[in-house]
Amino acid sequence: MIPWIIIILLLSSWELYNMRKEDLKKERFILIILSLLSLIMAYLYSNYPYDISIAGFSLDLFGFPH
């Protein structure tokens, strides 16, 4: 989990640094939202690597046997 937090923070900070000279407010907002989303996914993957299955959830949701 910790290596992923460091990687995500480094990537986001680097992109924010690259954006500093341009007027890119929307891009900054989207980047922050995506960074938060990736942190949530990193948490889920680190803590429940074999419990979460998007495919399994979708198959259950639509009633397909698997």
């Binding site: 929307k26 989207i30 979460i52 495919a55 397909f64 698997h66």
Partner: protein, 360 residues
């Protein structure tokens, strides 16, 4: 000259379509058609040709009517800006999901064929890193790379098909009667989503030039894909038989494994892995770029390159969280994957393009 303006030609776009088609088709088509249409499975690619032909004609007419508009703008024109954006957001989510699916398939394929003792996430991370580096230079780099990759894949595929001929048994693909028409149609509908990927590529139509030639070149490409798919299925079912093809996970790989020409040309399955990885690279990077392009349009962004890295991190986690087993992954592909692609690549575009042509 096109690359300097960040645009690609229609020829490059259609080459990308052919390359993208290769990876899922050799994994999915032989076993799927063998399950449903049995020994007559090789006739099922005729069905998608006739399903996609109207889409190509409608796309061409829509581009001719709205000469200055991209396909994304045509969606906005047909459905209104708010509904169009909502629908395109669903497109972005769906394409991101199937990109995660294909990324996972790519990893699974490598760890089940060549590197059986290696962790899957290493290969997925390598792919993500490569895409991050290349896409920062623009999509034109991938289109240019594909001008070499696409003919290479096609040539190798047809050479392998010729090498498989000594093991081909005519009894495996006969008899055929009128009773096979319904199973052929069913299998044909199931595989037609692969042909529908042309629509995803044309979501990049604002960076594609020479769209006025789409009808002409598009029909040629549809014909080529139908022919190559028929060759692929006939050679595999003809070599292995439909009952074995339906049961094994990678029938193309197994058909290549039994190639032996005078004991000189043998054990050439590693070539398949190489062309498969090349095709996966083009597929994953193209679909990822389409998602970026859609997000840029939906949120009116000036630049999309700033979100490449972080979106790739999300794609990595999605591909790891998409499934816990390969069986579940295949169940997802065979049910929700087919339905979702049919909806987003065939049914919705058909309606939207008709509205765009009729609406004044």
């Amino acid at each position: 000259m096109l690359a300097s303006r960040g645009k690609i030609s229609l020829k490059q776009a259609l080459f990308i379509y052919i390359t993208i088609f290769f990876s899922p088709s050799i994994r999915f088509m032989p076993s799927y058609t063998a399950i449903i249409a049995k020994q007559s499975g090789y006739l099922s690619p005729i069905v998608p040709f006739f399903i996609l032909l109207p889409i190509i004609i409608l796309l061409h007419k829509a581009f001719m009517k709205h000469k200055d508009k991209s396909l994304i703008d045509i969606y906005y024109f047909s459905l209104g800006k708010a509904t169009g954006k909502a629908l395109l957001f669903l497109y972005a989510l769906w394409i991101l999901l199937i990109t995660a699916l294909y990324t996972r398939y790519y990893g699974e394929r490598i760890v089940t064929t060549v590197f059986t003792q290696t962790k899957i996430n290493i290969f997925i991370l390598i792919m993500m890193t490569m895409i991050a580096f290349i896409l920062r230079s623009g999509y034109t780099v991938i289109a240019r790379m594909n001008e070499i990759i696409c003919p290479l894949i096609s040539i190798i595929f047809f050479i392998l098909a010729i090498f498989m001929m000594p093991n081909f048994k005519i009894n495996n693909i006969t008899p055929i009667s009128y009773l096979d028409i319904i199973p052929i149609m069913k299998a044909g509908f199931g595989i037609s989503f692969l042909w529908g990927y042309i629509l995803y590529i044309f979501l990049l139509s604002d960076i594609i030039n020479d769209k006025e030639n789409l009808m002409h070149h598009g029909i040629y490409v549809l014909f080529y894909l139908t022919l190559s798919s028929a060759v692929l299925i006939v050679i595999i079912i003809g070599t292995l038989g439909y009952s074995i093809t339906a049961k094994i996970p990678l029938p193309f790989m197994d058909a290549v494994k039994i190639i032996s020409l005078f004991d000189v040309v043998a054990k050439i399955e590693s070539i398949v892995v190489i062309i498969w990885i090349l095709s996966d690279f083009i597929l994953i990077s193209t679909f990822f770029y389409i998602v970026l392009h859609l997000l840029k349009s939906i949120f009116d962004l000036k630049e999309e390159k700033f979100i490449i890295n972080i979106l790739l991190v999300i794609l990595y986690f999605l591909s790891m969280l998409i499934t816990t087993s390969k069986i579940e992954l295949e169940a997802f592909s065979y049910t929700i994957g087919i339905s979702g692609n049919a909806l987003f690549a065939i049914i919705i575009p058909f309606i939207v393009l008709i509205i765009a042509i009729v609406k004044k």
